[in-house]
Protein backbone atom coordinates (compact mmCIF):
# COMPACT_ATOMS: atom_id res chain seq x y z
CA UNK A 1 0.00 0.00 0.00
CA UNK A 2 1.56 3.32 -1.05
CA UNK A 3 1.44 6.55 0.94
CA UNK A 4 -1.53 8.07 -0.96
CA UNK A 5 -3.64 4.99 -0.35
CA UNK A 6 -2.72 5.05 3.33
CA UNK A 7 -3.85 8.68 3.65
CA UNK A 8 -7.07 7.96 1.74
CA UNK A 9 -7.72 5.02 4.05
CA UNK A 10 -7.26 7.30 7.07
CA UNK A 11 -9.76 9.80 5.65
CA UNK A 12 -12.31 7.01 5.19
CA UNK A 13 -11.73 5.80 8.76
CA UNK A 14 -12.10 9.33 10.08
CA UNK A 15 -15.87 9.05 10.36
CA UNK A 16 -15.60 5.80 12.31
CA UNK A 17 -13.15 7.59 14.59
CA UNK A 18 -15.55 10.51 15.09
CA UNK A 19 -18.46 8.16 15.76
CA UNK A 20 -16.34 6.09 18.16
CA UNK A 21 -16.65 2.93 16.05
CA UNK A 22 -12.96 2.39 15.48
CA UNK A 23 -11.62 -0.58 17.44
CA UNK A 24 -8.15 -1.01 15.98
CA UNK A 25 -5.69 0.81 18.30
CA UNK A 26 -3.12 1.07 15.56
CA UNK A 27 -5.57 2.87 13.30
CA UNK A 28 -6.64 5.20 16.13
CA UNK A 29 -3.00 6.09 16.81
CA UNK A 30 -2.38 6.77 13.10
CA UNK A 31 -5.40 9.10 12.87
CA UNK A 32 -4.48 11.03 16.01
CA UNK A 33 -0.91 11.45 14.80
CA UNK A 34 -2.17 12.67 11.42
CA UNK A 35 -4.53 15.17 13.08
CA UNK A 36 -1.54 16.73 14.84
CA UNK A 37 0.65 17.01 11.76
CA UNK A 38 -1.68 17.39 8.72
CA UNK A 39 -3.67 20.67 8.57
CA UNK A 40 -5.87 19.50 5.68
CA UNK A 41 -6.72 16.36 7.59
CA UNK A 42 -7.52 18.45 10.68
CA UNK A 43 -9.75 20.74 8.56
CA UNK A 44 -11.70 17.78 7.20
CA UNK A 45 -12.07 16.44 10.72
CA UNK A 46 -13.52 19.77 11.91
CA UNK A 47 -15.92 19.98 8.95
CA UNK A 48 -17.19 16.48 9.47
CA UNK A 49 -17.63 17.01 13.21
CA UNK A 50 -19.52 20.29 12.66
CA UNK A 51 -21.86 18.90 10.01
CA UNK A 52 -22.40 15.82 12.10
CA UNK A 53 -23.45 17.93 15.08
CA UNK A 54 -25.81 19.86 12.80
CA UNK A 55 -27.29 16.77 11.21
CA UNK A 56 -27.73 15.14 14.62
CA UNK A 57 -29.96 17.98 15.68
CA UNK A 58 -32.63 17.07 13.21
CA UNK A 59 -34.80 14.01 13.05
CA UNK A 60 -37.27 12.60 10.59
CA UNK A 61 -40.88 12.87 11.67
CA UNK A 62 -42.50 9.54 12.29
CA UNK A 63 -46.25 9.32 11.67
CA UNK A 64 -48.47 8.73 14.69
CA UNK A 65 -49.83 5.32 15.67
CA UNK A 66 -53.15 6.02 13.94
CA UNK A 67 -51.33 6.07 10.63
CA UNK A 68 -49.71 2.71 11.26
CA UNK A 69 -53.04 1.32 12.46
CA UNK A 70 -54.57 2.22 9.12
CA UNK A 71 -51.65 0.96 7.03
CA UNK A 72 -52.56 -2.73 7.14
CA UNK A 73 -56.16 -2.25 5.90
CA UNK A 74 -54.80 -0.01 3.15
CA UNK A 75 -52.34 -2.72 2.09
CA UNK A 76 -55.09 -5.36 2.21
CA UNK A 77 -57.29 -3.13 0.13
CA UNK A 78 -54.55 -2.78 -2.47
CA UNK A 79 -54.05 -6.53 -2.55
CA UNK A 80 -57.78 -7.04 -3.10
CA UNK A 81 -57.81 -4.46 -5.89
CA UNK A 82 -54.85 -6.16 -7.50
CA UNK A 83 -56.54 -9.55 -7.26
CA UNK A 84 -59.76 -8.26 -8.81
CA UNK A 85 -57.73 -6.58 -11.57
CA UNK A 86 -56.02 -9.88 -12.32
CA UNK A 87 -59.40 -11.60 -12.40
CA UNK A 88 -60.80 -9.05 -14.87
CA UNK A 89 -57.79 -9.40 -17.11
CA UNK A 90 -57.98 -13.20 -17.10
CA UNK A 91 -61.76 -13.05 -17.64
CA UNK A 92 -61.40 -10.76 -20.64
CA UNK A 93 -58.72 -13.08 -22.00
CA UNK A 94 -61.11 -15.99 -21.51
CA UNK A 95 -63.80 -14.12 -23.47
CA UNK A 96 -61.32 -13.48 -26.21
CA UNK A 97 -60.41 -17.17 -26.35
CA UNK A 98 -64.05 -18.15 -26.55
CA UNK A 99 -64.09 -16.53 -29.99
CA UNK A 100 -60.56 -17.40 -30.95
CA UNK A 101 -60.72 -21.17 -30.31
CA UNK A 102 -63.66 -21.90 -32.68
CA UNK A 103 -62.14 -19.59 -35.30
CA UNK A 104 -58.82 -21.45 -35.07
CA UNK A 105 -60.64 -24.81 -35.29
CA UNK A 106 -62.42 -23.74 -38.49
CA UNK A 107 -59.14 -22.52 -40.01
CA UNK A 108 -57.46 -25.80 -39.06
CA UNK A 109 -60.25 -27.89 -40.61
CA UNK A 110 -60.07 -25.86 -43.84
CA UNK A 111 -56.34 -26.27 -43.92
CA UNK A 112 -56.56 -30.03 -43.39
CA UNK A 113 -59.09 -30.37 -46.19
CA UNK A 114 -57.33 -28.20 -48.74
CA UNK A 115 -53.79 -28.00 -47.56
CA UNK A 116 -52.09 -31.31 -48.45
CA UNK A 117 -52.93 -31.17 -52.18
CA UNK A 118 -50.03 -30.92 -54.58
CA UNK A 119 -51.41 -29.96 -57.99
CA UNK A 120 -47.95 -29.72 -59.48
CA UNK A 121 -47.27 -33.43 -59.30
CA UNK A 122 -50.66 -34.94 -60.06
CA UNK A 123 -53.12 -33.41 -62.45
CA UNK A 124 -56.75 -34.10 -61.62
CA UNK A 125 -58.95 -33.27 -64.58
CA UNK A 126 -61.77 -30.87 -63.94
CA UNK A 127 -65.08 -32.07 -65.31
CA UNK A 128 -66.18 -28.49 -66.03
CA UNK A 129 -63.26 -27.88 -68.38
CA UNK A 130 -64.07 -31.15 -70.15
CA UNK A 131 -67.65 -30.07 -70.64
CA UNK A 132 -66.56 -26.72 -72.00
CA UNK A 133 -64.22 -28.43 -74.43
CA UNK A 134 -67.05 -30.73 -75.48
CA UNK A 135 -69.21 -27.70 -76.23
CA UNK A 136 -67.08 -27.09 -79.29
CA UNK A 137 -68.66 -30.15 -80.85
CA UNK A 138 -71.72 -29.15 -82.82
CA UNK A 139 -73.36 -32.48 -83.41
CA UNK A 140 -76.12 -33.54 -81.01
CA UNK A 141 -75.12 -37.15 -81.19
CA UNK A 142 -71.63 -36.22 -80.47
CA UNK A 143 -72.87 -34.36 -77.42
CA UNK A 144 -74.68 -37.39 -76.06
CA UNK A 145 -71.64 -39.53 -76.54
CA UNK A 146 -69.38 -37.02 -74.77
CA UNK A 147 -71.70 -36.79 -71.79
CA UNK A 148 -71.20 -40.52 -71.31
CA UNK A 149 -67.51 -39.98 -71.35
CA UNK A 150 -67.73 -37.06 -68.94
CA UNK A 151 -69.74 -39.10 -66.42
CA UNK A 152 -67.18 -41.81 -66.69
CA UNK A 153 -64.51 -39.17 -66.37
CA UNK A 154 -66.04 -37.97 -63.09
CA UNK A 155 -65.37 -41.33 -61.53
CA UNK A 156 -61.91 -41.81 -63.00
CA UNK A 157 -58.79 -39.82 -63.48
CA UNK A 158 -56.08 -40.34 -65.99
CA UNK A 159 -52.45 -40.12 -65.11
CA UNK A 160 -49.77 -40.49 -67.72
CA UNK A 161 -46.47 -41.95 -66.58
CA UNK A 162 -44.00 -41.74 -69.38
CA UNK A 163 -45.80 -43.07 -72.44
CA UNK A 164 -48.38 -45.09 -70.48
CA UNK A 165 -51.80 -43.79 -69.54
CA UNK A 166 -53.27 -45.13 -66.33
CA UNK A 167 -56.87 -44.81 -65.24
CA UNK A 168 -57.42 -44.43 -61.51
CA UNK A 169 -60.60 -44.16 -59.50
CA UNK A 170 -61.07 -40.81 -57.80
CA UNK A 171 -61.43 -40.74 -54.04
CA UNK A 172 -64.40 -38.97 -52.45
CA UNK A 173 -62.39 -36.19 -50.91
CA UNK A 174 -60.37 -35.56 -54.06
CA UNK A 175 -57.19 -35.84 -51.98
CA UNK A 176 -54.61 -37.71 -54.02
CA UNK A 177 -51.50 -39.38 -52.60
CA UNK A 178 -48.31 -37.85 -53.87
CA UNK A 179 -45.93 -40.31 -55.44
CA UNK A 180 -42.37 -39.37 -54.81
CA UNK A 181 -41.13 -41.13 -57.97
CA UNK A 182 -43.12 -38.84 -60.24
CA UNK A 183 -41.29 -35.99 -61.78
CA UNK A 184 -42.52 -32.50 -62.39
CA UNK A 185 -43.87 -31.60 -65.90
CA UNK A 186 -44.28 -35.30 -66.66
CA UNK A 187 -48.05 -34.88 -66.80
CA UNK A 188 -49.10 -32.08 -69.01
CA UNK A 189 -52.63 -30.89 -69.56
CA UNK A 190 -52.01 -30.49 -73.25
CA UNK A 191 -51.18 -34.19 -73.85
CA UNK A 192 -53.98 -35.40 -71.71
CA UNK A 193 -56.59 -33.40 -73.60
CA UNK A 194 -55.25 -34.67 -76.92
CA UNK A 195 -55.67 -38.25 -75.75
CA UNK A 196 -59.22 -37.49 -74.68
CA UNK A 197 -60.05 -36.01 -78.04
CA UNK A 198 -58.57 -39.03 -79.83
CA UNK A 199 -60.68 -41.41 -77.76
CA UNK A 200 -63.81 -39.40 -78.32
CA UNK A 201 -63.18 -39.25 -82.05
CA UNK A 202 -62.62 -43.02 -82.20
CA UNK A 203 -65.88 -43.69 -80.43
CA UNK A 204 -67.74 -41.26 -82.66
CA UNK A 205 -66.36 -43.02 -85.71
CA UNK A 206 -67.52 -46.38 -84.38
CA UNK A 207 -70.97 -44.92 -83.70
CA UNK A 208 -71.19 -43.50 -87.26
CA UNK A 209 -70.12 -46.82 -88.75
CA UNK A 210 -72.67 -48.61 -86.58
CA UNK A 211 -75.43 -46.29 -87.86
CA UNK A 212 -74.44 -46.98 -91.46
CA UNK A 213 -75.07 -50.70 -90.96
CA UNK A 214 -78.42 -52.30 -91.78
CA UNK A 215 -80.88 -52.79 -88.89
CA UNK A 216 -80.43 -56.59 -89.07
CA UNK A 217 -76.70 -56.34 -88.72
CA UNK A 218 -77.09 -53.82 -85.93
CA UNK A 219 -79.36 -56.28 -84.11
CA UNK A 220 -76.84 -59.10 -84.49
CA UNK A 221 -74.03 -56.93 -83.10
CA UNK A 222 -76.16 -55.76 -80.18
CA UNK A 223 -77.11 -59.35 -79.34
CA UNK A 224 -73.45 -60.34 -79.38
CA UNK A 225 -72.59 -57.49 -77.05
CA UNK A 226 -75.41 -58.52 -74.70
CA UNK A 227 -74.11 -62.07 -74.67
CA UNK A 228 -70.62 -60.89 -73.83
CA UNK A 229 -71.93 -58.69 -71.01
CA UNK A 230 -74.00 -61.58 -69.61
Amino acid sequence: MNNNNKIEQLYILLLDYIEGNLDDENEIRNIEQRLKTDLEFRKTYNELTSSRKLLEKIEFKEPDEVYFASLLPKIRNRLEQKKSKRKTISFSLLKYWQVLIPALTVILVIFLLKGPRSPENIYIPNSETNISSKDTLSNNDEKTSTTNISTEEKNTKKVRIGNETILEKKSKTNIQPVESTLEENEFEEYDYQNILYQEIEEELMIEKEFEKLSPEKQEIILNKIKEIQL
Binding site: S51, L54, K57, E59, F60, L72
Partner: protein
Protein backbone atom coordinates in the same frame (compact mmCIF):
# COMPACT_ATOMS: atom_id res chain seq x y z
CA UNK B 1 -52.88 2.04 25.34
CA UNK B 2 -55.34 3.79 23.07
CA UNK B 3 -53.05 3.48 20.08
CA UNK B 4 -52.26 -0.16 20.83
CA UNK B 5 -55.97 -0.89 21.07
CA UNK B 6 -56.65 0.85 17.76
CA UNK B 7 -53.98 -1.29 16.10
CA UNK B 8 -55.43 -4.44 17.60
CA UNK B 9 -58.99 -3.56 16.53
CA UNK B 10 -57.83 -2.69 13.04
CA UNK B 11 -55.81 -5.87 12.83
CA UNK B 12 -58.74 -8.03 13.93
CA UNK B 13 -61.10 -6.25 11.48
CA UNK B 14 -58.74 -6.79 8.57
CA UNK B 15 -58.26 -10.38 9.57
CA UNK B 16 -62.00 -11.02 9.62
CA UNK B 17 -62.50 -9.13 6.37
CA UNK B 18 -59.86 -11.13 4.54
CA UNK B 19 -60.43 -14.55 5.96
CA UNK B 20 -64.19 -15.06 5.81
CA UNK B 21 -63.88 -16.92 2.52
CA UNK B 22 -60.68 -18.61 3.55
CA UNK B 23 -62.29 -20.27 6.55
CA UNK B 24 -64.67 -22.15 4.28
CA UNK B 25 -61.81 -23.44 2.17
CA UNK B 26 -59.53 -26.25 3.20
CA UNK B 27 -56.14 -24.63 3.53
CA UNK B 28 -53.22 -26.50 4.96
CA UNK B 29 -52.71 -24.59 8.19
CA UNK B 30 -49.79 -25.01 10.46
CA UNK B 31 -50.51 -26.25 13.93
CA UNK B 32 -49.00 -23.03 15.24
CA UNK B 33 -51.64 -20.80 13.56
CA UNK B 34 -53.30 -19.82 16.81
CA UNK B 35 -49.97 -19.23 18.52
CA UNK B 36 -48.73 -16.71 15.96
CA UNK B 37 -48.08 -13.17 17.10
CA UNK B 38 -45.95 -10.17 16.24
CA UNK B 39 -42.94 -11.66 18.05
CA UNK B 40 -43.08 -15.01 16.25
CA UNK B 41 -39.94 -15.97 14.38
CA UNK B 42 -39.88 -14.70 10.79
CA UNK B 43 -39.32 -18.18 9.35
CA UNK B 44 -42.45 -19.51 11.04
CA UNK B 45 -44.46 -16.48 9.91
CA UNK B 46 -43.28 -16.90 6.32
CA UNK B 47 -43.92 -20.64 6.32
CA UNK B 48 -47.34 -20.13 7.82
CA UNK B 49 -48.16 -17.52 5.17
CA UNK B 50 -46.97 -19.84 2.41
CA UNK B 51 -49.30 -22.48 3.81
CA UNK B 52 -52.20 -20.11 3.26
CA UNK B 53 -52.42 -18.34 6.59
CA UNK B 54 -53.16 -14.71 5.79
CA UNK B 55 -52.88 -13.72 9.45
CA UNK B 56 -49.16 -14.44 9.27
CA UNK B 57 -48.77 -11.78 6.61
CA UNK B 58 -50.65 -9.33 8.83
CA UNK B 59 -48.10 -9.96 11.58
CA UNK B 60 -45.22 -9.42 9.14
CA UNK B 61 -46.71 -6.05 8.15
CA UNK B 62 -47.25 -5.12 11.80
CA UNK B 63 -43.71 -6.11 12.65
CA UNK B 64 -41.88 -4.18 9.94
CA UNK B 65 -44.17 -1.34 8.89
CA UNK B 66 -42.35 1.32 10.92
CA UNK B 67 -38.91 0.30 9.71
CA UNK B 68 -40.03 0.20 6.10
CA UNK B 69 -41.79 3.53 6.37
CA UNK B 70 -38.59 4.95 7.85
CA UNK B 71 -36.42 3.62 4.98
CA UNK B 72 -38.77 4.90 2.30
CA UNK B 73 -39.02 8.25 4.07
CA UNK B 74 -35.23 8.60 4.17
CA UNK B 75 -34.82 7.88 0.47
CA UNK B 76 -37.80 9.89 -0.79
CA UNK B 77 -37.07 12.77 1.61
CA UNK B 78 -40.15 14.94 1.98
CA UNK B 79 -42.16 13.31 -0.78
CA UNK B 80 -45.94 13.01 -0.85
CA UNK B 81 -45.47 9.46 -2.13
CA UNK B 82 -43.92 7.97 1.02
CA UNK B 83 -47.21 6.42 2.13
CA UNK B 84 -47.91 5.14 -1.37
CA UNK B 85 -44.48 3.52 -1.81
CA UNK B 86 -44.60 1.99 1.69
CA UNK B 87 -47.87 0.25 0.84
CA UNK B 88 -46.50 -0.91 -2.49
CA UNK B 89 -43.48 -2.44 -0.74
CA UNK B 90 -45.77 -4.74 1.25
CA UNK B 91 -47.89 -5.53 -1.81
CA UNK B 92 -44.69 -6.52 -3.58
CA UNK B 93 -43.62 -8.54 -0.55
CA UNK B 94 -46.97 -10.38 -0.57
CA UNK B 95 -46.39 -11.46 -4.17
CA UNK B 96 -42.71 -12.26 -3.85
CA UNK B 97 -42.76 -14.21 -0.58
CA UNK B 98 -43.46 -17.36 -2.63
CA UNK B 99 -39.98 -17.04 -4.11
CA UNK B 100 -38.30 -16.12 -0.80
CA UNK B 101 -35.67 -18.81 -0.26
CA UNK B 102 -34.62 -17.72 3.20
CA UNK B 103 -30.95 -17.22 2.27
CA UNK B 104 -31.05 -13.81 3.95
CA UNK B 105 -33.19 -12.61 6.83
CA UNK B 106 -36.72 -11.42 6.14
CA UNK B 107 -35.81 -7.91 7.30
CA UNK B 108 -32.94 -7.73 4.79
CA UNK B 109 -35.29 -9.00 2.10
CA UNK B 110 -37.91 -6.34 2.88
CA UNK B 111 -35.24 -3.63 3.10
CA UNK B 112 -34.04 -4.59 -0.39
CA UNK B 113 -37.56 -4.35 -1.77
CA UNK B 114 -38.09 -0.99 -0.05
CA UNK B 115 -34.81 0.49 -1.31
CA UNK B 116 -35.27 -0.77 -4.86
CA UNK B 117 -38.85 0.44 -5.03
CA UNK B 118 -37.95 3.85 -3.60
CA UNK B 119 -35.08 4.31 -6.05
CA UNK B 120 -37.27 3.17 -8.92
CA UNK B 121 -39.94 5.60 -7.81
CA UNK B 122 -37.44 8.48 -7.96
CA UNK B 123 -36.19 7.23 -11.32
CA UNK B 124 -39.66 7.22 -12.88
CA UNK B 125 -40.73 10.50 -11.23
CA UNK B 126 -37.47 12.40 -11.65
CA UNK B 127 -39.29 15.36 -13.16
CA UNK B 128 -41.50 15.74 -10.09
CA UNK B 129 -38.53 15.46 -7.73
CA UNK B 130 -36.45 17.99 -9.66
CA UNK B 131 -39.35 20.49 -9.63
CA UNK B 132 -40.11 20.01 -5.94
CA UNK B 133 -37.36 21.88 -4.13
CA UNK B 134 -39.08 22.48 -0.83
CA UNK B 135 -42.38 21.63 0.76
CA UNK B 136 -44.15 23.66 3.38
CA UNK B 137 -44.76 20.83 5.75
CA UNK B 138 -41.36 19.31 6.31
CA UNK B 139 -40.78 15.65 7.15
CA UNK B 140 -37.67 16.71 9.03
CA UNK B 141 -37.97 18.15 12.51
CA UNK B 142 -35.54 19.60 15.02
CA UNK B 143 -34.77 17.61 18.12
CA UNK B 144 -34.24 20.77 20.16
CA UNK B 145 -34.80 24.10 18.46
CA UNK B 146 -33.15 26.08 21.27
CA UNK B 147 -29.75 24.61 20.51
CA UNK B 148 -29.67 26.25 17.11
CA UNK B 149 -28.74 29.88 16.67
CA UNK B 150 -31.63 32.28 17.11
CA UNK B 151 -31.25 33.47 13.51
CA UNK B 152 -31.81 30.00 12.23
CA UNK B 153 -35.47 29.22 12.38
CA UNK B 154 -36.72 25.70 12.37
CA UNK B 155 -38.04 25.61 8.81
CA UNK B 156 -34.95 27.16 7.25
CA UNK B 157 -32.64 24.61 8.81
CA UNK B 158 -34.95 21.71 7.87
CA UNK B 159 -35.17 22.92 4.28
CA UNK B 160 -31.42 23.42 3.94
CA UNK B 161 -30.68 19.96 5.29
CA UNK B 162 -33.29 18.44 3.00
CA UNK B 163 -31.72 20.15 0.02
CA UNK B 164 -28.26 18.99 1.04
CA UNK B 165 -29.45 15.37 1.42
CA UNK B 166 -31.32 15.51 -1.89
CA UNK B 167 -28.18 16.76 -3.62
CA UNK B 168 -26.44 13.46 -2.86
CA UNK B 169 -26.21 10.80 -5.56
CA UNK B 170 -28.69 7.94 -5.04
CA UNK B 171 -26.24 5.38 -3.69
CA UNK B 172 -24.58 7.87 -1.34
CA UNK B 173 -27.96 9.03 -0.09
CA UNK B 174 -29.11 5.49 0.63
CA UNK B 175 -25.93 4.59 2.48
CA UNK B 176 -25.86 7.88 4.42
CA UNK B 177 -29.53 7.77 5.43
CA UNK B 178 -29.52 4.13 6.49
CA UNK B 179 -26.23 4.44 8.34
CA UNK B 180 -26.70 7.81 9.96
CA UNK B 181 -30.43 8.03 10.66
CA UNK B 182 -31.47 4.37 10.72
CA UNK B 183 -28.31 3.31 12.60
CA UNK B 184 -27.70 0.25 10.43
CA UNK B 185 -24.27 -1.31 10.73
CA UNK B 186 -21.90 -1.74 7.78
CA UNK B 187 -22.49 -5.50 7.98
CA UNK B 188 -26.25 -5.05 7.69
CA UNK B 189 -25.82 -2.56 4.84
CA UNK B 190 -23.47 -4.93 3.08
CA UNK B 191 -26.07 -7.67 3.22
CA UNK B 192 -28.92 -5.40 2.10
CA UNK B 193 -27.08 -3.59 -0.69
CA UNK B 194 -24.89 -6.56 -1.59
CA UNK B 195 -21.68 -4.50 -1.50
CA UNK B 196 -18.36 -4.96 0.31
CA UNK B 197 -17.94 -3.16 3.64
CA UNK B 198 -14.90 -1.24 2.34
CA UNK B 199 -16.94 0.22 -0.51
CA UNK B 200 -19.73 1.17 1.89
CA UNK B 201 -17.29 2.92 4.24
CA UNK B 202 -15.89 4.94 1.35
CA UNK B 203 -19.39 5.77 0.08
CA UNK B 204 -20.42 6.92 3.57
CA UNK B 205 -17.33 9.12 3.89
CA UNK B 206 -17.81 10.78 0.49
CA UNK B 207 -21.52 11.30 1.20
CA UNK B 208 -20.67 12.97 4.51
CA UNK B 209 -17.95 15.08 2.91
CA UNK B 210 -20.32 16.30 0.22
CA UNK B 211 -23.00 17.10 2.78
CA UNK B 212 -20.46 19.08 4.83
CA UNK B 213 -19.43 21.01 1.76
CA UNK B 214 -23.04 21.86 0.81
CA UNK B 215 -23.99 22.87 4.34
CA UNK B 216 -20.82 24.91 4.78
CA UNK B 217 -21.39 26.82 1.54
CA UNK B 218 -24.94 27.68 2.59
CA UNK B 219 -25.12 31.33 3.67
CA UNK B 220 -27.30 30.69 6.68
CA UNK B 221 -25.36 27.68 7.89
CA UNK B 222 -21.79 28.79 7.17
CA UNK B 223 -21.90 30.89 10.31
CA UNK B 224 -22.56 27.78 12.31
CA UNK B 225 -19.51 26.11 10.79
CA UNK B 226 -17.19 29.05 11.44
CA UNK B 227 -18.40 29.26 15.04
CA UNK B 228 -17.59 25.62 15.53
CA UNK B 229 -14.09 26.09 14.28
Amino acid sequence: MVTINSIEICFVNTDVYMNNKRRSKSYNFLDTTDKLNINTDDKILVQSFLNGNQTAFNYIVMKYQKKIYSVVQKILVNSIYIDDVTQEVFVKLYDSLKTFRGDSSLLTYIYRIAINMSLNHIKYNRKWYSQTSSIDESEIDLKDSQIIDAELDKNTLSNQIQKAINSLPEQQRVVFQLKFYDNLSYEELSEILNKPIGTLKATYFFAFKKLSSVLKNDKTLSKFFSNEQ
